[in-house]
Symmetry: D2
Subunit: 91 residues, 4 copies
């Protein structure tokens, strides 16, 4: 990862918050919270992770992918991005 | 949540493992791991959460939803399940 | 499918419109439209199908699932709904 | 769209098949097929569209995006790809 520092610290910050929310999902299950409330909380965690993925991918495209293409080596980086895209639509 | 104990402990166990994997995502970002590796790890966390959601929803349908329908009160539980379904396809 | 007539005709109507939009995706490809425009149009078709799925599932829960549960036969209908849910989160 | 001819004809071919499958979804609804069967057929159409999207995006990355980056104009093409990615994870 070659983010500028502000992108990196923003991603780390969001991940820490998301870890807290995921811990809360577990605590809700441990305390026998209503299933539907558990599901909404879990889906919120998934949505937060998707937003983080977008930040990581955007950073990746603007750094590694641009560099590789300028160096005339597009093939591998494009295959990697496609693998991420294909997985994202299967979840 | 009204799970039998084995469902509940299985869900809690999976959530703890997923928390560990999410922590690892953050550590990867902190250590400047390759973006694509971060994304694969994050997508694995999302997939694990989806499987946990399925366990929670399955338990919910077999307990609360069955009970409410038997009591002649299907409306609210069905609306709640639909809300979860709609959110799930928007992520 | 046991919809009331208005649900059924609404679903058929939406499907016809979506067929038209899908045909347009193909025409765009045939006319060498810009890839990104093709993708947005295709994603709009997918979103429309998801909304139709919600209508079908909502109808199913309110009819077949309620009936089966009242008859004391929840198992198969719940498994079927879970299969749809699991697939929906893998797309 | 600047595909080579074989990519384009493959995409058009898949779209035609998918149009046929979508027509079948409507016919199933018109003939009061079982909701769950309708949903599986509809989900198969969505999966087929996702695969087509991958072909279109892959082609786009290998042509327009590579060209734009080589010309020193990465910004707009990356924003466009990110818009597609964000939408894809919201469906």
């Amino acid at each position: 990862m070659k983010p500028n520092k502000s992108v990196k610290s923003s991603i780390v910050h969001r991940l820490k918050i998301t870890e807290g929310h995921l811990r809360k999902v577990r605590e809700m299950v441990e305390k026998d919270a209503y299933c539907i409330d558990v599901l909404h909380q879990s889906q919120a965690v998934e949505a937060a992770l998707k937003e983080i993925d977008s930040l990581v991918l955007n950073n990746h495209l603007n750094t590694c992918v641009v560099d590789a293409i300028k160096k005339g080596k597009p093939k591998e980086v494009i295959e990697e991005v496609m693998a991420v895209f294909r997985k994202s639509v299967k979840r």
